[in-house]
Symmetry: C2
Subunit: 155 residues, 2 copies
């Protein structure tokens, strides 16, 4: 048996991913130029080529003249990468994850671990941010009061 993960967003419950990447072409007719992918993902062409150079992307199809032609699958991968980037995961770790995906099924546990660690990081980052909110609210309260005091002084 071979389990294949179709990195597809599918009809699933993926919560909002920034730019509404609506207009996908049906599978089989899915050949996007780099500028279409730019429009779809919000990344720059520079960044897309750079992702490829550093091994963060699988090998991208080329047209007969050597231009990149991205597939729906590539777009799905980019969506995942975008999410991982939002978690604050360093690019090097994303490259590591990409390598594991390329390496095949026997890397499942390592991928699992990598994602689990990332999840922990996200949770503690959220807690950290909530800690800063407390301080921010205290300060903001101070300035709001001060503003009112200054205003009433003028009365």
């Amino acid at each position: 048996m071979t389990l294949t993960e179709t990195e597809t967003t599918g009809a699933g419950a993926d919560t909002c991913a920034g730019p509404p990447q609506g207009d996908r072409r049906p599978d089989g007719a899915d050949k996007y130029t780099i500028s279409e992918v730019v429009a779809l993902t919000g990344l720059t062409a520079h960044t897309l080529r750079w992702y490829e150079r550093i091994g963060l992307m699988p090998h991208i199809d080329r047209s007969h003249t050597g231009q990149r032609r991205y597939s729906n699958r590539d777009l799905d991968w980019l969506a995942l990468v975008g999410k991982l980037r939002l978690t604050g995961m360093p690019v090097a770790d994303m490259v590591r994850y990409a390598e594991l995906v390329r390496a095949g099924d026997h890397t499942y546990t390592e991928r699992f671990e990598l994602l689990r660690r990332t999840r922990e990081d996200v949770l503690s980052r959220i807690a950290e941010l909530q800690g800063t909110l407390a301080v921010l609210d205290r300060k903001i309260g101070f300035y709001a009061d001060a503003g009112r005091a200054l205003a009433s002084e003028r009365t």
Copy 2:
């Protein structure tokens, strides 16, 4: 009337700020060397000097031989800076905030605005992170299932 904000953490409800910065000296005897501040804040001496150079710190007292002597007030400021840094606020904005504090009471509304914007940023960052958690959990679930499937195959 002049309202002074004693950037003091005081007896307030400041939630955990990383390293338990317990051992403060009483006001009046509050003269810390740079290495003591390093131990207290977790920052490096390099960073402390750099903060000063870029205007993120008020002028720090010096000993008769020109060495820095930090006060409790400086430590309080550093604690706030640490919190702001955790929010992801760029250093340039923190410098701007420091300038406003130095400039005096008439900058209250601008400080208020800066903190309010930062608060909004923190809230949307939290929302963003919670969005990534959904994706992460879906992936992690996939790998967990796959792991179980692979294990049962071996039975």
